[in-house]
């Protein structure tokens, strides 16, 4: 049982270390001054409060243990509460808790001079505001009786509270190029944002109640781009997606106007459920206003903007949100029928608006669709096709898609002939009718195609049954005759 003995020995020694350390703490425990002991005679009782004129109140209870552990434990009560002593206890009147606090904070400056505290940039900017008649309360940040040494001053309920104690005020950051950025953070906005459960340093890493590194950025934009890197710590999937995007490519090529996370999503005020489509298109509009104008006039845009229909595609439905690729590439072209098909092949959505889902099927089963299908599959294993195949957008347009029903139909038809000629040299007016405009052949639409195909549908099985019967009869007869 050697190992057992060892464990007991170890535990015993730990116990002794523990006892000794407690002993040393109590040894260092300063005895309270006589005056303090007198004060505590009342103030150690829970439940005594000081009331103000506006009915606010503040507890007058003092936790002796906490005071003993504080950095001011060598002081006595009247050192700070200068109007009070063991035999003086004047009744004072204050309008509000705030007024009381401001008044109390003035005491701090007896020892901590303005010059002394302004060595810290945070204090300097706060003191700057005091000249504008704004008062700051030392105890809001540092506490009162439980005041801790600066290095270990974890006296805030939360880190957010700590940071906001400065950043809730008007602060500015000046960049090398002279631009300034307001560092004031609206606590209400944070509480309303999706990130209200996070603390400041979750995003602003490197910063905490102990650390506030000085960082130097050339411009405001440099700072914004660098700050957006924070998002990837949690949203890594989205971040990797953006690395495939044209925006990221532009950014890495030196175009600092290319958007980063915060340009679209905001920073402290990221709203929950910001998926309302009218709201999303506006984000893209900021940099792509011309395209937004065209889109707004399209059948999709009109339905969104004037009727608030949420089924219509917005920018990100076709271009995606994070991995936005260059839409001018042939890879993107090839995906167009799938992109349009996401909605136009979806019966549930199309039925709402009286639209047919045949449009995708008819395209895919026709010459263009079949060829495109093969090109897509072939390019991996065989070769990259040199020819471009007509896709939805070639006839219908992209951002300017108009309705094929009603007055726009004639314009589309007229444009179609021109569009055909782009690939089919010498195509005449008749040529475009070779494409049945997404209609399935019927007696009214393409009757010739309908009738011929009907004849075959009847005749082929009929002929086959006849031939098989003949063969079976022949075999049977042969067997019988033998």
């Amino acid at each position: 049982m050697k190992s057992g003995e060892r464990i007991i020995l170890f535990l015993l020694s730990l116990f002794w270390v523990f006892i000794i350390s407690i002993d040393s703490v109590s040894a260092a425990d300063t005895a309270l001054s006589e005056e303090a002991q007198k004060c505590l005679g009342c103030h150690a009782q829970l439940g005594i409060v000081k009331k103000f004129e506006n009915n606010e109140s503040v507890t007058a209870y003092v936790d002796a243990e906490k005071f003993k552990a504080s950095v001011h434990n060598s002081l006595t009560c009247s050192d700070c509460h200068d109007e009070f002593s063991s035999d003086k206890h004047p009744a004072r009147k204050f309008r509000s808790k705030k007024q009381y606090k401001i008044r109390s904070s003035l005491v701090c400056k007896h020892c901590h001079t303005d010059q002394q505290i302004s060595a810290k940039p945070i204090h300097a900017s706060l003191l700057g505001e005091e000249s504008e008649n704004k008062s700051h309360v030392c105890t809001d940040c540092h506490g009162s009786h439980s005041i801790m040494p600066v290095a270990g001053g974890k006296i805030f309920a939360s880190e957010k509270q700590y940071c906001l104690s400065c950043h809730g005020h008007k602060l500015n950051m000046v960049f090398k190029d002279g631009e300034t950025l307001a560092l004031k953070v609206d606590a209400l906005l944070i509480d309303a944002s999706v990130h209200n459960k996070l603390t400041c340093s979750d995003c602003h890493y490197g910063f905490s109640s102990e650390e506030h590194p000085q960082r130097n950025f050339r411009t405001k934009r440099d700072y914004a781009i660098a700050s957006a890197e924070s998002c990837r710590r949690c949203h890594f999937d989205k971040y990797t997606k953006t690395m495939e995007s044209i925006h990221y490519t532009m950014l890495s090529q030196g175009n600092l106007k290319a958007p980063v996370c915060t340009d679209c999503h905001g920073s402290h005020s990221i709203p929950p459920g910001g998926k309302e489509k009218n709201f999303v298109v506006k984000k893209c509009q900021r940099c792509h206003p011309e395209i937004y104008e065209i889109y707004a006039k399209s059948i999709h845009g009109k339905a969104l903007i004037s009727e608030h229909i949420q089924d219509v595609p917005i920018c990100i439905d076709c271009h995606t949100a994070h991995n936005i690729t260059d839409p001018r590439t042939s890879d993107y072209r090839e995906r167009v029928p799938d992109i349009c098909g996401n909605c136009h092949a979806n019966k549930e959505i199309m039925e709402k608006y009286g639209l047919s889902t045949d449009v995708v099927k008819t395209y895919l089963s026709d010459f263009h669709g079949v060829t495109l299908g093969f090109y897509k599959k072939q390019k991996e294993t065989l070769y990259k096709p040199a020819r471009q195949i007509a896709v939805c957008t070639d006839c219908h347009g992209t951002h300017n898609i108009s309705s094929v029903i009603g007055s726009d139909a004639a314009i589309i038809k007229a444009n179609l002939a021109k569009r055909c000629q782009k690939c089919h040299e010498g195509a005449t007016e008749n040529f475009q009718d070779a494409w049945l405009s997404h209609y399935k052949p019927s007696l009214t639409r393409a009757p010739m195609v309908f009738i011929v195909s009907l004849i075959y549908r009847v005749f082929i099985p009929f002929a086959m049954i006849g031939l098989i019967l003949q063969i079976l009869l022949h075999i049977w007869r042969y067997a019988v005759t033998r």
């Binding site: 079949v370 060829t371 299908g373 093969f374 090109y375 599959k377 072939q378 294993t381 065989l382 070769y383 096709p385 089919h424 040299e425 010498g426 195509a427 005449t428 008749n430 040529f431 475009q432 009718d433 070779a434 494409w435 049945l436 052949p441 393409a446 010739m448 195609v449 011929v452 195909s453 075959y456 005749f459 082929i460 002929a463 086959m464 031939l467 098989i468 003949q470 063969i471 009869l473 022949h474 075999i475 049977w476 007869r477 042969y478 019988v480 005759t481």
Partner: protein, 246 residues
């Protein structure tokens, strides 16, 4: 005697070398057109896709299909021109022409299969099955050439005809081709390979020669004409050998 040239031992000469070559050309071109065409018609099948990939992609398959189509067109054109010249100038027999007797023979044979008639129809150089198949394939072939050209050059065709002609041509082309394929796969393969009468293979179109027994059995009228004798009365199975002219 006419028969002396034709008969060599027990075999009778039935097809000339030109016809044998023609048949080979048809097998090859129709074979290529069939696999390249059907894999396009049924493009979504895994087998079709595998095949198209083996040939190096859809563009290659279309190219092969079109140029083989030209080859078949030439075979058909030569066949028709030679046929016309033969009939007009060389006094070839018009034995392929369908007449009333062919329809009667067809009905007769069905009756025979069911058991109403005691013996099969007595046919001449080509029986009704062969005639129907011949015309079926020839007319389909012409239809393929015409519609195939329309699909190859749609811009040219729509200069003269309405646009709807192109999808119609596609329906005609693919369905007629599929029909021909099914007839060949079922009917022709049965009659010339699987039928118990010829199994394992009807070699006549490859060797050009037919045996006397089969000639008497399948083409009695031609046999009678060639040898100037009547087989009537000894019709049916088991013709006595000594009665057959040599």
């Amino acid at each position: 005697m006419k028969g002396d040239n034709i008969i060599k031992e027990d075999k009778i000469r039935r097809f000339s070398t030109t016809r044998i070559i023609e048949h080979w050309m048809t097998i090859i071109t129709l074979g290529i057109l069939g696999v390249t065409g059907l894999s396009q018609k049924f493009y979504s099948l895994a087998l079709s896709q595998w095949f198209i990939f083996q040939l190096g992609g859809i563009d290659n398959v279309r190219l092969i299909h079109r140029y083989t189509g030209i080859a078949l067109s030439i075979v058909i054109a030569v066949h028709i021109i030679a046929g016309i010249i033969g009939v007009v100038f060389k006094k070839w027999q018009t034995s392929m022409i369908i007449n009333k007797k062919d329809f009667l023979d067809a009905i007769h044979n069905i009756k025979y299969y069911i058991g109403i008639e005691s013996h099969p129809a007595r046919c001449d150089r080509y029986d009704y099955k062969q005639k129907f198949e011949y015309w079926g394939v020839l007319i389909s072939g012409l239809l393929m050439v015409v519609t195939g050209m329309a699909l190859w050059f749609p811009t040219l065709v729509t200069r003269f005809l309405p646009g709807e002609v192109i999808p119609t041509a596609k329906i005609l082309h693919t369905n007629q081709a599929f029909l021909v394929f099914l007839i060949v796969a079922l009917w022709h393969i049965y009659n010339s390979i699987l039928s118990p009468e010829v199994f394992p293979l009807d070699t006549v179109i490859f060797t050009g020669k037919i045996s006397k027994e089969r000639m008497i059995h399948e083409h009695p009228l031609e046999y009678e004409r060639l040898f100037n004798i009547s087989l009537e009365g000894s019709e049916g199975e088991g013709i006595p050998k000594d009665k057959v002219a040599t």
